[in-house]
Amino acid sequence: MGDIIQTIVAKYNFWIYITLMMIGLYAMIAKNNLVKKIVGMNIFQTAIILFYVSIGAKRGATIPILEHGHGGGHNVVHAIDYANPLPHVLMLTAIVVAVATLGVALALAIRVYDRYSTLEEDEILSQIREE
């Protein structure tokens, strides 16, 4: 029993990200409305970002910004005292790129709406078949 609780405590963050990711995936596959699909894509991206940030965490570590002062000699830096900077870097760029892709997705949705006067996928498909 104690083992199971320990596993849950150690891993539950990954389960939350996987749940979020699957909510996004399901929305992208099953939802009929294009804007809802875009929202699903964003939930998916958020899950990935949370996953990466949690990989970068270290117990007892501080943010990856070194202490420094003018003139003073540098103290010896131990890697164990600072959180892993690499996932933060990757996600920093990913957040901005997510916003940019969201813009393109919305632009495409606007164009689709102009052409077919609807955002429902099945109505768009039936209109395409009629042509």
Binding site: K11, V89, V97, A100
Partner: protein
């Protein structure tokens, strides 16, 4: 489709949760992600680049190529929105709405007719727009401070959390706040479409140009220590300055792209009236 989607999602989720059992425990200092490359970054950044913020150093120096192409992706997204949405043939709106500034009376002008030129009337959006003095005034007072904070975030990215991406987004948000609180025409008057497109390209050009300059000075692409002879500092400090230059480029590109995308998406490419 819903059932298939549910089955796919549940199967993939179950597989991933099963695989998560092999992951190291949360915040384990000995996890594989924290043992190979990141100790080098944490311990060597200060002596190799003299930048205390490791995230900035890794972003703009160690992973300079990655960030350069991320900036290019953002630039491409801005251009894609522009090409998809921009309507060059100006469709005259069916009716324009004007508000008499002093009395608040709203006038509707049909297509073709014109209002006599007068300073007393201001154009308003055809959707319901109340005259919100508080929102307009507060936003007008706040915008300069938002912009100064954005410049601080860009310039101080070496020593505190911040950098080109964050500062650029805040700068762009300040103009978007203007567009939301007043109207899109005011924001476009301040920050025109051509300026947006130009700054977008200039930001990417600053980044790539810094890299090319390093190449011309005899070192690798984006090896900022080559700038030492131009900036008259030692190679380590030159790396720090090189990082600042490319962060400014990133900030300019991100700011212009955010405004460009907002203008295009919110007005369907007509730049007439937004949200």
């Amino acid at each position: 489709m819903k059932v298939i989607g549910l089955i796919i999602a549940v199967l993939t989720g179950g597989l991933l949760i099963y695989a998560a059992g092999d992951f190291p425990a949360w915040s384990d200092p000995a996890s594989p992600a924290s043992t190979y490359l990141s100790p080098h970054f944490i311990e060597k950044t200060m002596e190799e680049t003299s930048v205390p913020n490791i995230v900035t150093a890794v972003l703009a120096d160690y992973r300079g190529f990655d960030t350069m192409f991320e900036t290019t992706v953002i630039f491409s997204a801005g251009v894609a929105c522009f090409l998809l949405l921009r309507a060059f043939r100006r469709k005259q709106p069916e009716a324009r709405h004007y508000r008499h500034v002093l009395t608040g009376v709203t006038v509707r002008i049909k297509e073709g007719t014109k209002l006599p030129p007068s300073e007393d009337f201001e154009r308003i959006d055809s959707l319901w727009t109340p005259h919100d003095l508080i929102i307009k005034t507060v936003c007008r007072l706040l915008i300069p401070f938002i912009q100064i904070f954005a410049l601080y975030v860009i310039a101080h990215g070496h020593h505190s959390p911040g950098g080109g991406f964050q500062g650029g987004v805040i700068l762009g948000a300040s103009i978007i706040v203007l567009a939301i609180s007043q109207d899109l025409r005011t924001a476009v008057k301040r920050m025109g479409e051509k300026l947006d497109a130009l700054l977008c390209a200039v930001g990417v050009l600053i980044y790539a140009g810094t890299g090319a300059l390093c190449l011309l000075l005899g070192l690798n692409f984006l090896d900022y220590s080559a700038l030492a002879s131009v900036l008259h500092v030692d190679p380590i400090t030159a790396r720090s300055h090189g990082i600042l230059i490319v962060e400014i480029g990133v900030g300019v590109a991100v700011m212009a792209t955010m405004i460009w995308i907002y203008n295009n998406v919110s007005s369907k490419g007509e730049y007439d009236q937004g949200l």
